[in-house]
């Protein structure tokens, strides 16, 4: 399972000077715009050290949630804790530890990439001016923009703009990164680099909250996911658990299709489909253990060429939860 390998490394969240507990926690977070409810009673939990994939169709309330987390929008009701401190009350002490990319990059057109970062660094009251040059240089190198540092932002391509946005989020060591659609406008190469960057940052101990449309992307890097639709958080948890919620299917490759399907039905499995031509039998696993199912099939005399338990991919689960008609990655 891809999620298992991607999430194999994480950090202990108990030890260290920081209070344990999630990096992001909201309780009953709600926000309306007029009579439209944009975010509806959302209880978000992003554990420390997680790479949390924040998913949802356009207009499902992801960005509104992120804007509330960062103190840009006021919540109508509900609570927000960021890195263990209440927001927006502790905004001044929390946000220096948080890097953010919100709804695409935004910089001054007539300044160079370097000068734009210098502007942001100068606005950070916790940034040490003595190390400013070094940190800007490192951040630009990390996103591969060193060669374009002195170019005006106006002349940047979409991918370069996106990279500069990431560099801005990396000017300081961060405990939490909030990345809204970080691979927007990047070519496959750039997308891959961002994925590696996210892994690297997570390995260094940074918690990453990443929203994306690209479900295959998220599946490769996320340890946890949350799925939003129409303002509600439908599902969240470790990726493996969320995926396990989906109906698993046993798939048996056998020349003895009749014997195998008979055994499956007798064992109590539902949705048994026998495909004689392909010599494959499938059925919903339900609460049964795969090893017991296989024993029944073999005991009945069916010769088995292959046996697999297939769980749905994030995309299938996503569509099942939020409905079709969404620009998923194919």
């Amino acid at each position: 399972m891809t999620a298992g390998t991607a999430g194999a490394l994480t950090r202990d969240s108990g030890r260290s000077g920081h209070p344990a507990g999630p990096a992001v926690r909201t309780a009953g977070l709600t926000r309306r715009f007029g009579d439209q409810i944009a975010v509806d009673d959302v209880d978000l939990v992003v554990p420390r050290g997680a790479v949390y994939g924040f998913l949802g169709p356009n207009g499902s309330g992801k960005t509104t949630t992120i804007r509330m987390l960062l103190g840009l929008l006021a919540a109508d009701s509900g609570e927000i804790d960021l890195l263990g401190e209440p927001m927006p009350a502790s905004l001044g002490s929390v946000l220096p530890r948080v890097g953010a990319l919100i709804e695409g990059p935004a910089f001054h057109l007539y300044l160079s990439g370097w000068d734009n970062l210098r502007r942001l660094d100068a606005s950070d009251r916790t940034a040490d001016p003595a190390t400013s040059r070094e940190r800007i240089g490192t951040a630009l190198a990390r996103v591969g923009l060193t060669a374009a540092a002195s170019k005006r932002y106006r002349q940047y391509s979409l991918g370069m703009k996106q990279r500069l946005g990431l560099a801005a989020a990396l000017l300081q060591p961060r405990e939490l990164l909030v990345l809204d659609e970080p691979t927007n406008g990047l070519d496959p190469q750039g997308t891959r680099e961002v994925r590696n960057l996210v892994r690297e940052l997570a390995f260094d101990g940074t918690t990453v909250l990443v929203s994306s449309h690209l479900l295959a992307e998220i599946e490769q890097v996320a340890t946890h996911v949350g799925i939003m639709a129409a303002g509600r958080l439908l599902r969240q948890g470790p990726l493996t658990e969320v995926l396990a919620d989906g109906a698993a299917v046993v798939r048996i490759s056998t020349p003895d299709v009749t014997l195998a399907s008979g055994a499956l039905a007798r064992s109590g499995l539902t949705g048994v489909v026998a495909d004689r031509e392909a010599a494959v039998v499938t059925a919903r696993l339900g609460e049964h253990l795969p090893e017991d199912v296989l024993r029944e099939v073999v005991t009945d005399g069916a010769r088995v060429r292959g046996f697999a338990v297939e769980r749905p991919h994030l995309e299938e689960l996503f569509v099942a939860l939020t409905g079709e008609g969404f620009d998923v990655l194919r």
Binding site: S13, R48, L73, L95, A106
Partner: protein, 296 residues
């Protein structure tokens, strides 16, 4: 649900790294202020505006040099320029005050917050974070500095051009008395300071308007409109009862400084009126910005 429970069995647990708690650096506000001024002065548009202001005294000076005007014609003090170059400072300010200076201040003040909101940099400034009060403080200081720079541009170019073309001599006041050239210069400094305070009232209005919209052009136009509207009301005789309280009514009051018996009380009263306007506008700007939903 703690993170430990959420971790799956195959997870390798590493010790958590420690992040140094961020500390406020000394002089952070002034670093941000310098950054703000760089932002204002690196922008070609703003430099072009200052250049336009510099042309005003240059043009008047050259025009007067070519053809001496008769007394009583043209804007105030025009006739005195040939006698003393220092008067070019006052003439240029008189000419620039109704239109050019409000234009420049309208552009810079109107753009200050609406411009950042419009291009999206506001949300990144606020999440750095620059707290909203601190942002308003640095924007106010930036706009005030630019206002001073605009007035200084007119005054200094006026002084240099006037000095070169007509010389700086003993200074004849409007009341007929003569004071030394040095005393005249001191009065010019007070005139410039008075004009800066007067225009700061408009700049503060521009800052407030700038918090209301994400459209910088609309904020600029509205700010300039504020000055024009006030001047318009000032020109309607039927409204003379409110004239004294209007934003622009006492802008040319600096003439008071060119008399032998300066009515200091009046100058202070007018300056307090301007500062009062500024205080009201800045309070409104703060009330608006500190509660504003940032959706841009």
């Amino acid at each position: 649900m703690s993170s430990a429970e959420m971790s799956t069995a195959e997870v390798t647990v590493l010790p958590r790294p420690s992040f140094a708690p961020p500390r406020t650096q000394r002089g952070a506000f002034w670093r941000l202020y310098r950054s703000e001024m760089r932002l204002l002065l690196r922008r070609r548009r703003n430099i072009a505006l200052l250049a336009v202001l510099a042309i005003v005294p240059l043009l008047i000076g050259v025009a007067v040099k070519i053809s001496t005007p008769r007394n009583g014609e043209g804007p105030a003090f025009l006739g005195q320029i040939t006698g003393n170059g220092l008067f070019l400072v006052f003439t240029a300010l008189t000419v620039a005050l109704p239109l050019f200076l409000p234009l420049v201040i309208g552009v810079v003040a109107g753009d200050s917050i609406a411009g950042e909101a419009g291009n999206g940099t506001l949300r990144y400034l606020l999440t750095v974070p620059v707290t909203r009060t601190r942002l308003l403080a640095v924007k106010t200081l930036g706009v005030a500095s630019f206002t001073a720079l605009a007035v200084l541009t007119v005054a200094l170019v006026g002084l240099v051009v006037g000095g070169v073309l007509f010389g700086l001599h003993a200074f004849t006041l409007l009341s007929g008395d003569t004071v030394s050239a040095a005393s005249g210069l001191v009065r010019a400094v007070f005139v410039a300071a008075y004009v800066v305070i007067a225009l700061f009232a408009l700049a503060a209005g521009g800052l407030f308007i700038s918090t209301l919209t994400e459209n910088a052009i609309a904020a600029m136009a509205t700010t300039i409109g504020l000055a024009v509207f006030s001047a318009l009301l000032d020109a309607v005789p039927q409204l003379d009862r409110i004239h004294g309280a209007l934003l622009t009514d006492h802008w040319l009051g600096f003439g008071e400084l060119l008399r032998s018996n300066v009515d200091a009380a009046a100058l202070i009263r007018w300056s307090l009126l301007h500062l009062g306007y500024a205080a009201v506008f800045l309070s409104l700007a703060w009330a608006r910005l500190s509660t504003k939903d940032i959706t841009s």
